[in-house]
């Protein structure tokens, strides 16, 4: 099917967020025009190539409780409505025309809820990240540590997703695991399709010295990587540190690099949200060698790709939660991935074929990790199979044409 260019409105609280990469591909590969409405934007170094050249970024403000750093759990929907209303105000003021399709992602903050007020007949595809099933041990796997307010917040927070699901949208999510989190009556409605990772122009794997964040990794170093939006407990930074500590005791040349913000920005990491989690963790459990644990912070995407191309072992230590893009990007780079066993990781990795899955026992995980570092040749096929799996299933060039097909079908229905 030919895929004609469409006029797309994207709505997401933050740019580029998750939809920015999708918009970038649609602009550069399918000739779309995208107006991206957001409340905040990452530093320009994180922006995709088509920003300003097909993607017009439009900011909207939020008022009320959305201006507060965090809100009490009864106010989760009110906060979302502030985002939805803020976006509506700008849409109402600008009245962009034409609009073939609206692509939204609320990420728990509300976004496209009021777009139908202005565009009542325009199809909306809404990306959904997660749903908090109180009967399921997700996210995180340590229920006994959760305070009442956290459980109550999880119960109350679903309202955002539910009103959006009932807003006449086509729901879209990235994985079957994410779809399975939603109440049964909604699951059949979901379009499950990964938004893909860039596989063109990836740097070749190498063992050359590499300078990252002002420090140079020597050629003989065995590089163990960890990448997350923030170095928090939900994504298992504590587990990574535990493994690294064991590895540096056994292997003299290990350099561990943890990429991501030091400030835990995931509300699920309720005990550390908004705090410097590495500082807390390493203060409580000083590592054997802080010199060999590098934390360069948030890196530009190209630097992350170069790092992953140099990685000897990538640790994906997340607790139960939708799989990170970093997992798929590490696989795309041909990394040997050691992942903690969760439903989400199992969907992406074939154990023993395209990666290694381990239980939550750190000693066992460390033993397997050490085996990878000590015999890289024997484990290289895992990395190659991982890269092949991504090329077949998770490359943007594979997944986004399907998304463009969906968009075209929905948009042509309204013509």
């Amino acid at each position: 099917m030919s895929q004609p260019p469409l006029d797309l409105v994207c709505i997401e609280p933050r740019f580029p967020g998750r939809l920015g990469g999708v918009a970038d591909w649609l602009v550069r590969r399918r000739g779309y025009r995208v107006r991206f409405f957001c409340n905040q934007a990452d530093p320009a170094v994180q922006w995709p190539e088509a920003t300003g050249r097909g993607i017009e970024v439009v900011a909207f403000n939020v008022g009320g409780v959305a201006r507060e750093t965090s809100v009490e759990w009864p106010k989760v929907l009110e906060r979302s409505l502030c985002y939805a209303y803020g976006c509506w105000e700008v849409l109402e003021g600008r009245r962009p025309r034409p609009v073939d399709l609206i692509l939204g992602r609320s990420n728990g903050l509300g976004s496209s809820l009021y777009a139908p007020v202005i565009f009542p007949r325009t199809p909306i595809v809404q990306f959904f990240d997660t749903y908090f099933d109180p009967d399921r041990r997700e996210p995180g796997d340590e229920a006994e540590r959760r305070p009442d307010t956290y459980r109550h917040w999880r119960l109350a927070a679903n309202a955002v997703e539910l009103v959006e699901l009932e807003n006449g949208v086509t729901p879209w999510t990235a994985t079957d695991y994410q779809r399975s989190l939603f109440p049964t009556p909604y699951r059949d409605d979901f379009h499950v399709l990964h938004d893909g990772v860039e596989t063109r122009g990836l740097p070749a794997r190498h063992r050359d010295p590499l300078t990252i964040g002002g420090r140079t990794i020597p050629a003989d170093a065995k590089v163990v990587t960890f990448v997350a939006r923030s170095l928090d407990r939900l994504r298992g930074f504590d587990r990574f540190v535990g493994i690294v500590d064991r590895l540096v005791r056994a292997e003299p040349n290990v350099v561990a690099v943890a990429v991501g913000s030091r400030v835990a920005d995931h509300p699920f990491d309720f005990a550390h949200y908004g705090r410097d989690y590495p500082l807390i963790l390493l203060g409580e459990n000083p590592p054997t060698s802080l010199e060999r644990l590098w934390m360069p912070g948030v890196l530009p995407p190209d630097d992350v790709r170069r790092l992953l191309a140099r990685s000897d072992l990538h640790v994906y230590a997340s607790r139960p939660h939708p799989a990170s893009r970093s997992l798929v990007e590490a696989m795309a780079a041909g990394c040997v991935v050691l992942a903690f066993e969760t439903e989400a990781a199992l969907e992406v990795i074939e154990p023993g074929v395209s990666g290694l899955l381990v239980p939550t026992d750190l000693d066992e995980a460390s033993r397997i990790a050490l085996g990878v570092l000590q015999d890289p040749a024997a484990h290289r096929p895992l990395g190659e199979a991982a890269a092949e799996r991504v090329r077949e299933r998770y490359s943007r060039d594979v997944t986004l044409p399907r998304l463009a097909d969906l968009f075209d079908r929905l948009a042509s229905g309204g013509r």
């Binding site: 009864p74 009110e78 139908p116 007020v117």
Partner: protein, 408 residues
Amino acid sequence: MHILFLHDAFPAQFGRLGLELADRYGWKCSYLIRNFSRCPEPTPAMLERLDIHRYIVPQAPATAQPAWPQIYGQFVDQCRAVADALRSMPGLRPDLVVANGGRGAPTLLVPEVLDCPIVTYCEYYFATSHGDLTYRLDLPPAEPAPFFPRVINAPTLVSLASAKAGYSATRWQRDTFPERYRSKIEVHFDGVDDRLYSPGPRLSSIAGRSVPEGTKVVTYVARGLESVRGFDLFLAAADRIARARSDVLFVVAGDDRAYYGWDTFHAGGLPFKEWAMSKVGCDPSRFLFLDHVSPETLAEVLRRSDLHLYLSVPFVVSWSLFNALSTGLVVLGADIDPVREVIEHGVTGLIAPLFDVDRIAETALKVLDDPAEYAPLGRAARAMIEERYSLDVAVSPLKDFFERVAAR
């Protein structure tokens, strides 16, 4: 069987039902409520035989109606207050909880305290546009109209997503819910008191005003005199009827306030009754406004009525419609689906297009001109209530339903 009914108000939907379950089957019926209501008021029998507990919501705002973005927060606070109240009453351990879900059943945290099934009374699911509160495109626009309907259902959705079972009073009410949820919502009407609302002797006066036998009485009843219930449309039709016949008295029962819609916006800040009376320009002497009345008074008023007008927009069917039909009155209702579920035009009542006040008036005048011709409609309405909607008919299936859910 021990049922705990959760509702903002008492007796509302559950008071009479609980009394029937207690009297007919010996069930223990407990209530956790915030307020006693005046429409209707609790009867002495209810207060004597039912186990009623009140709870307070410490975080409740000073104003009765929060701004629309805060409705969900108020619901969550209510859920928290309900759970706290239940924790403070360890002796209250029912076999089943039945919760009113009019604005979302406040049961979010109940499973933390009680280990029993929960039934949600699925009263209504608001339309995002062109329905209920957004149906009156003929009125000046209301600022919340584009926003409110997309969030008002949030409490309902949250409670429904986790509910095991629900029930609605009518098929139309059930069908307002998203199709995905309908399979777990049964239809069980909760019963009209057809002994109280029954044909009988006609009063010679109403609220101290003499009503000679030759006077034609047209009734209009709603909890609030508001646009959602078509009060202004009633006035417009009444004005036409009054101009055609000088012997008609319009008797109106209901509070001078809006319970559901945005009449403050529609009326530019004026009370909607005042705004509508002024807009229509009707002669106040032809109207008798009773404000809120007791069920007993309402039954007497309806017995004296020659015609009852029911001109609601598509919304939860009012008790007053069933009460009027039960009284054996000729009812002229708006041509909307929820009314069509109850009234078969020309058989158990009459139906006319909601906004066509000329047609409504014309039809009303025919009834008033030739009551004998239309009397069979009233008798058929009464028979229909006895067969389909009376307490005797309705309570037993509800009892079976509750038992089935409690046994799960």
